[in-house]
């Protein structure tokens, strides 16, 4: 009798745990849908009153007279994201090749914690560092070098801070990708008389290329959504930037800066939610595309 009761208890316990696991999983998979639905619902108010085309391509942002042109924010976001990738992509690729192909063991032993710690530093700290180091550097050294007197709070400052933030993220992926290139390929290339550098350039990098491209894509999407660090150094001026020394106002900063006042004006509230929706969709697209590319490269 006791034995049967115990078995029943164990079975019941299994069912209980399994149900909880399933509920948790389904709930978490359900959340992105609720998230999109919520953001769409909130931004409907604005979309009903203004055509989407005008919202995206007008540069007239004056919420109080209910004109919402997102162009300055979109252009700022694009500038900062692309610029930050231009800075960090070569650094990451070169370091990844160095660490996987040339570096001695002790270098790796130092670099792993360095990457981990860099990845763990909160974005607000990057912002503080940007204000302490990058902004004065641009204002005192880099600006005068180009014959400009600038405050330092600029697209360039934002891009530079961002480029450092996405380095650990991209570098980790690149190291894994390059490590995953089969050794036989390299040996074949070397045995045919190619030098080590030719092998790296023409075999390793070429083989890992889809992965490299997609890790850059993931880095870009991370840069696109980063908020506080950029907000602190970018200047936040609503105008389409025409140079890297000018201040910008990216989308995440727009949302973060105005959350207090948005409640009083429903359209304004709706506009900020539309900004969040744009952010979400762009990042989602980049992510899905890049991850898909990685998956496809892995199965080949």
């Amino acid at each position: 009798m006791k034995h049967i009761r115990l078995t029943r208890y164990r079975k019941w316990r299994n069912v209980f745990h399994q149900s909880w696991m399933m509920i948790a999983l389904l709930a978490m998979l359900f959340i992105p849908l609720v998230l999109v639905a919520g953001l769409i619902m909130k931004s409907m108010l604005l979309l009903e009153n203004h055509p989407l085309f005008e919202l995206l391509f007008s540069s007239d942002w004056s919420p109080l007279s209910s004109r919402f042109g997102f162009l300055p924010f979109i252009v700022s976001s694009l500038w900062i994201t692309i610029l930050s990738l231009l800075i960090s992509a070569p650094v990451c690729l070169l370091t990844a090749i160095h660490l996987t192909q040339y570096a001695k063991r002790w270098v790796l032993r130092i670099m792993h914690p360095v990457i981990d710690i860099l990845a763990g530093i909160p974005s607000v700290i990057f912002g503080v560092w940007g204000i302490l180091v990058i902004v004065p550097f641009i204002s005192h050294q880099l600006g005068p070098l180009f014959g400009k007197s600038v405050s330092g709070y600029s697209i360039l400052a934002g891009a530079f801070v961002l480029s450092i933030m996405i380095i650990p993220f991209m570098l980790n992926m690149l190291i894994e990708l390059i490590k995953a290139v089969p050794n036989e390929l390299q040996e074949a290339s070397l045995s045919l008389g190619a030098s080590k550098w030719q092998t790296i350039k023409l075999v390793v990098v070429r083989k890992a290329l889809p992965g490299i491209v997609s890790s850059f894509g993931l880095g870009m999407s991370r840069a696109f959504g980063e908020t506080i660090a950029v907000l602190m150094v970018v200047g936040n001026v609503t105008r389409i930037p025409t140079g890297v020394f000018q201040p910008g106002y990216p989308l995440p900063a727009l949302i973060a800066n105005n959350y207090g006042e948005m409640l009083s004006i429903p359209l304004y509230d709706s506009a900020l939610m539309l900004a969040a929706l744009i952010l979400f969709l762009v990042v989602l697209m980049f992510n899905v595309f890049s991850r898909f590319l990685i998956l496809k490269a892995e199965t080949h």
Partner: protein
């Protein structure tokens, strides 16, 4: 340019970029500590803001330190009781359904990439919808939403390395899958789970964009889940936007506190992760 000099040139570039990354990390830590340590004092760590604190007078950031710890502990706990079972489910129950598990991994990987400000905006919509004010609870829920993907994928990675034979032999001896999950797989992946928890906790304590909308800010230490709460990243952010120099100095001191906490977490998870090897 022949191949030899080309290789030399690129090897130098590679060496420089590696040095660059190490240098930048050192520069970040050193510049924050250099600016922050002189203004850091014992009273700053142990008192809450008094009247006139934001004009450079008496007080400290205890409210933000405690608030951040409450928030991160709550969010990490919530994310753990959701994320841990999900990871186990993927590796013990769904072990035969490769495509499904890979699809789930794909979704969580993508969710990991969603910016925290989007979660913040979403949390805010939920709050308005439910009629709740900015509070510790709203913050905990929002932050846990965005650390669950990290938790799931990190635990999942360590469960993946548990040998399949262990599952098969336990099943053949009559264990139920829940026993295998919690008694065998979780024990095997114990260190990985601890690392995942620390990783999530570090994410939770450092994020500002998601708590900006949802947790609010107050000078008091919260006594219940329904009260708003200060957080360390936001206190750094707010103090730094002040034009008064004494307040800015305190922001750097607060940054020192935050960076020390995060470094300790990093080192701890490194230490635990290394013991596995």
């Amino acid at each position: 340019m022949n191949t030899k000099t080309e290789e030399k040139f690129f090897r130098m570039l590679m060496f420089l970029s590696t040095i660059f990354i190490v240098g930048v990390l050192l520069l970040i830590v050193v510049s924050v500590l250099y600016k922050g340590l002189p203004s850091l004092s014992f009273t700053m760590l142990t008192s809450i803001p008094k009247g006139g604190f934001y004009f450079g007078e008496e007080g400290g950031i205890l409210n933000a330190i405690i608030g951040s710890i409450y928030l991160s502990l709550g969010a990490t706990f919530l994310a753990f009781i959701i994320g841990w079972p999900i990871a186990l489910y993927m590796n013990v129950y769904l072990v035969k359904h490769h495509t499904l598990v890979n699809a789930i991994r794909f979704v969580f990987d993508v969710l990991w990439g969603v910016p925290s400000i989007v979660y913040g905006a979403f949390g805010f919509i939920l709050m308005v919808f439910l009629g709740v004010r900015a509070s510790l609870l709203a913050g905990i829920i929002t932050v846990s939403l965005f650390i669950v993907p990290i938790m799931v994928r990190a635990i999942d990675e360590s469960l993946k390395s548990v040998p399949r034979g262990l599952l098969e032999s336990a099943l053949s001896l009559g264990s139920t899958r829940s026993e295998i999950s919690y008694r065998i797989f979780s024990r095997e992946a114990f260190q990985g789970i601890i690392t995942a928890i620390l990783l999530s906790f570090g994410r939770a304590i450092g994020d500002a964009a998601s708590v900006l909308f949802t947790t609010g800010y107050t000078d008091r230490i919260p006594t219940s889940l329904m009260e708003p709460s200060a957080t360390l990243p936001l206190s750094i952010f707010f103090q730094l936007s002040s034009p008064i120099e004494a307040v800015q100095d305190r922001a750097y001191a607060s940054a020192t506190v935050l960076i020390s906490m995060v470094l300790v977490i990093s080192l701890l998870s490194r230490f635990i992760g290394n013991r596995r090897n």
